[in-house]
Symmetry: C2
Subunit: 152 residues, 2 copies
């Protein structure tokens, strides 16, 4: 998968803010995050349920969940100044979009990372929110070495 020419405008002047405030990356990342989360949740529920049946489901990852994950991973410097929860969530989506498009993590690696870090009962709504915040914070910490060190 080599779609990195989609990053040509960003890589010319690569920085944490160039990635984290890119609206196009956030758009692609939004679809990517929802897709990998849905597959990962399906795999986890299929592997962990007792009646040995496949569970295929989907879930949009809420903006608050992603905003919390960015704060918990200490990566707020990627977001624009005075960012609200929506902006912070966009930053997470942009970072994950960047990591995928730049081929640092493949789709299957993203899915497997989420599956491997889930625990508890994802059928419980409150527990799922807590789990989702935690796994995305862990993913952000995991991908930080792939991201530029300069803020601007």
């Amino acid at each position: 998968m080599v779609y990195d020419y989609l990053l040509k405008d960003i890589t010319q002047d690569l920085s944490q803010k160039a990635i984290g405030t890119n609206k196009g990356l956030a758009k692609i990342g939004d679809e990517l995050v929802n897709f990998v989360y849905s597959v990962a949740k399906s795999i986890y529920l299929t592997k962990s349920n007792s009646h040995n049946r496949a569970v295929l489901t989907s879930k949009k990852v809420g903006k608050k969940i992603l905003a919390t994950a960015l704060k918990d991973a200490n990566l707020k410097q990627f977001a624009k100044n005075r960012a609200d929860a929506h902006d912070l969530a966009d930053t997470v989506e942009a970072i994950i979009g960047y990591v995928w498009l730049s081929n640092q993590m493949q789709l299957e690696e993203l899915i497997d990372f989420l599956v491997d870090n889930f625990s508890g009962n994802l059928n419980d709504r409150n527990e799922e929110i807590k789990q989702a915040q935690e796994v995305f914070a862990k993913l952000l910490i995991h991908v930080k070495p792939f991201l530029p060190e300069n803020e601007l």
Copy 2:
């Protein structure tokens, strides 16, 4: 990518309707279709624009577009009886979800198939709708050999 155990309930009794009317497959397929379409559109717009800039965008593929594609591909027998446009679109999403989960087409192949079959100006809204209907109909015809021949 081997997530085909997510299909274990379906493959026990595989048929065109078992795939095309599976609600879980349609959920995963919905996220998949929106993601691959968004990436494919971004690639096409980046390759075809004159100012040599990357275009990153996203787009939810409308139910009517997918319903039309299913009819144009002559695959209505995969849908439930008396299906409305929403049901027909779900069937397309389920088929594409099945093709990906069963590893008949990888993500990159889905994206490249759409890119290679786009033509014209996707920035024009009416032209984009027509293009989207056509490329999904072509994709469905392309994947038909990967699908079961028995209707029930």
